[in-house]
Each structure stands twice: as structure tokens, then as C-alpha cells.
């Protein structure tokens, strides 16, 4: 879906960061810090080149960008863990970051795909129940996104907010599932398992004691 004019996403030049730049820099947090320090500037530069060549205001463009991050970041995180010899004291913190990162990506992906489904369903004349489920799905995705961002911040108050947002996302998702029965297994896995995973990691004893 393309938006005719979207000044937020235009690329005026190398010196001024755009909204797309800022979003991409947030996505870069999914990568290990060492990798980010080495290649972050080049990746942002390449992303800007892609923005110039493509349509940064389209959902398709962002789906591809998210897919690239989802595909490459976990493997690089695993590489980084191996390089550090899987230090056990940091495992929980890293697990938290991985879950939070997945939550951010899949929350954003869920919210965007709900909007895309809503648009497609609206064109095909689906009824009110479907649209309510789509709106609830988008809200659940946005709440997951909030939970992931809060968990990545890592302060005690942010972790509390992450717990609440994950719980709210789970409730809203289950409501959507009740309103509209048909839902893909992938959506159900993401909508149910991810909030539960983030709640489980946030409630782990060492995490509650404040160790990162």
C-alpha cells in the first residue's frame, strides 16, 4: 500500500536523519553491539540508499526491511554468544534481549500485517466482525511492540511496563481470537507464545533481583 506523499520518509540528504532513519536505527538494536559498532554506519548508509531507490512509505518496503533484520540478527547474536564463550552469567540478559528484540520485530510485523489485512478485507467486503478482529490484532501487535521496546530499555520501571503491555497484548489477542475464529497458526503462536515468553523471562528470579 503506497501513500502518495509522505514527507516523513523522504530522504533530503546525508546530514539530516529522516523518520525512516530513526526507525531503522531502532531496528539496528536487534544486532549485537560489537557488530553494530563495526557495521551500523554502513548499514544505515545502505538503508538510506535503498530509501532513495525505493518507496520508503510503503508497507512492502518495511516488510522486506523487517524480514532482513529478523533473518540476519538472530544468527549474528548466536555468533556473538559463541565468540564470548556463552558466558552463563549473561545468558539471561541476552535471552531477555533476544526475546525483546523478537517482540519488537514481530509486534511491528503483526501491527502492519493487521493493517494490510484490514485494507484487503475491506476491499473484499468482509463484515464488521472481521474488521473488529483486525483492529484488535493491530492493537495487540502495538502492545507487543511497546512491551519489546520497554524490555530493551531494561530499567525496573520499564520492565514493569513491559510486563503489563505483554499481559494486555495477550488479553487483546485472545479477544480477537474469540471475535474471529479463523486465524493462522503462525499468528496464534506469535500472539500467545511471545507475550508468555516475555512474561516468563521478566519474572525469572535473577531478572527480578536486578541482574542484567
Amino acid at each position: 500500500m503506497s501513500v502518495p506523499t509522505a514527507p516523513l520518509f523522504t530522504v533530503p540528504g546525508p546530514s539530516r536523519p529522516t523518520a525512516a532513519d530513526r526507525i531503522y536505527r531502532l531496528l539496528l538494536r536487534a544486532y549485537p553491539p560489537v557488530f553494530r559498532a563495526e557495521y551500523g554506519r554502513e548499514m544505515t548508509q545502505l538503508f538510506r540508499d535503498q530509501c532513495r531507490a525505493g518507496d520508503a512509505s510503503s508497507i512492502g518496503f518495511w516488510m522486506i526491511a523487517l524480514w532482513d533484520v529478523a533473518q540476519s540478527a538472530p544468527a549474528l547474536r548466536v555468533d556473538a554468544w559463541r565468540a564470548r564463550g556463552c558466558e552463563s552469567t549473561r545468558t539471561l540478559g541476552e535471552t531477555m534481549k533476544l526475546v525483546a528484540m523478537l517482540t519488537v520485530l514481530l509486534g511491528m510485523f503483526g501491527a502492519l500485517s493487521s493493517v494490510a489485512e484490514g485494507v484487503a478485507g475491506g476491499r473484499q467486503g468482509f463484515g464488521g466482525t472481521f474488521l473488529i478482529a483486525v483492529v484488535l490484532g493491530a492493537v495487540a501487535g502495538a502492545l507487543l511492540l511497546v512491551a519489546g521496546v520497554a524490555a530493551l530499555r531494561g530499567t525496573p520501571s520499564a520492565r514493569q511496563m513491559a510486563s503489563r503491555a505483554a499481559l494486555a497484548s495477550l488479553v487483546v489477542f485472545l479477544l480477537a481470537r474469540l471475535v474471529f475464529g479463523w486465524m493462522s497458526i503462525f499468528s496464534q503462536l506469535v500472539g500467545i507464545a511471545l507475550p508468555l515468553a516475555i512474561l516468563a523471562v521478566l519474572r525469572a528470579p535473577r531478572w527480578r533481583a536486578g541482574a542484567v
Partner: protein
Amino acid sequence: MTKDKGATGRPESHLPLAPATFEILLALVDGERHGYVIMKEVAERTEGAVRLGPGTLYGALKRLLEGGLVEEGGERADPELGDERRRYYRLTKFGLRVARAEARRLEEMVRAARRKKLIGAELA
């Protein structure tokens, strides 16, 4: 390629290469390139079938650098893309040997497919 095997191993020890990795090496055969040119060349050569995003591209380049297949060729601006400085990458001699070994492996597979008449049967 899953881990750093260093530039001293046999080229065959790096095979088979992941498709995206081989595409990057192919793009670097003609000379040094920066990330955006590699990405564009791969997309054009494969007619869009292989699209390397920044994460995939730099993740692969990092492993290629660690394996000694690729080296950095300095930083400079690309006149066609403005005055931002860009890091260039180039194949090492060892990287070229690995790329050749992979090309030979693929060629042998294509020959086997022809012998089995999976392809080229319409010409026979």
C-alpha cells in the same frame, strides 16, 4: 560457511557456500565494491531473485572477512552517490580460489543434471 576457518585452509573446506555468499564473491570478482553496489549488482544479475538487505549483506561480509576471503579496500566517496565516505571490499587471493572451487562444484552439478536430462533435454 559457519565459522572462521582462516585464509590458510583448503578452499574446499569452505564449500558449499551459501547462495548469498557466493553472489557476494561473484560481485567482487571484477574489482572492489562498496555495499550498495554489491547489493545492486546481485539484484540485477539474479533478476531480483536474490535481494540482499543490509543485515544479510554485512552479516555475510563479516564472516567473509573473518574467513580471509575478503579484505577491506579503504574508504572513499562514490562520485555517483554523493560525498558520503563508503567502505570498499575486495576479494583476497584465497577468496578467489574459494569462488573458483565453488563455481567448479556448481558446474559439476549442472553437468550431472544434464547427464540425467533434467535440463538441456529439449536441445538433445
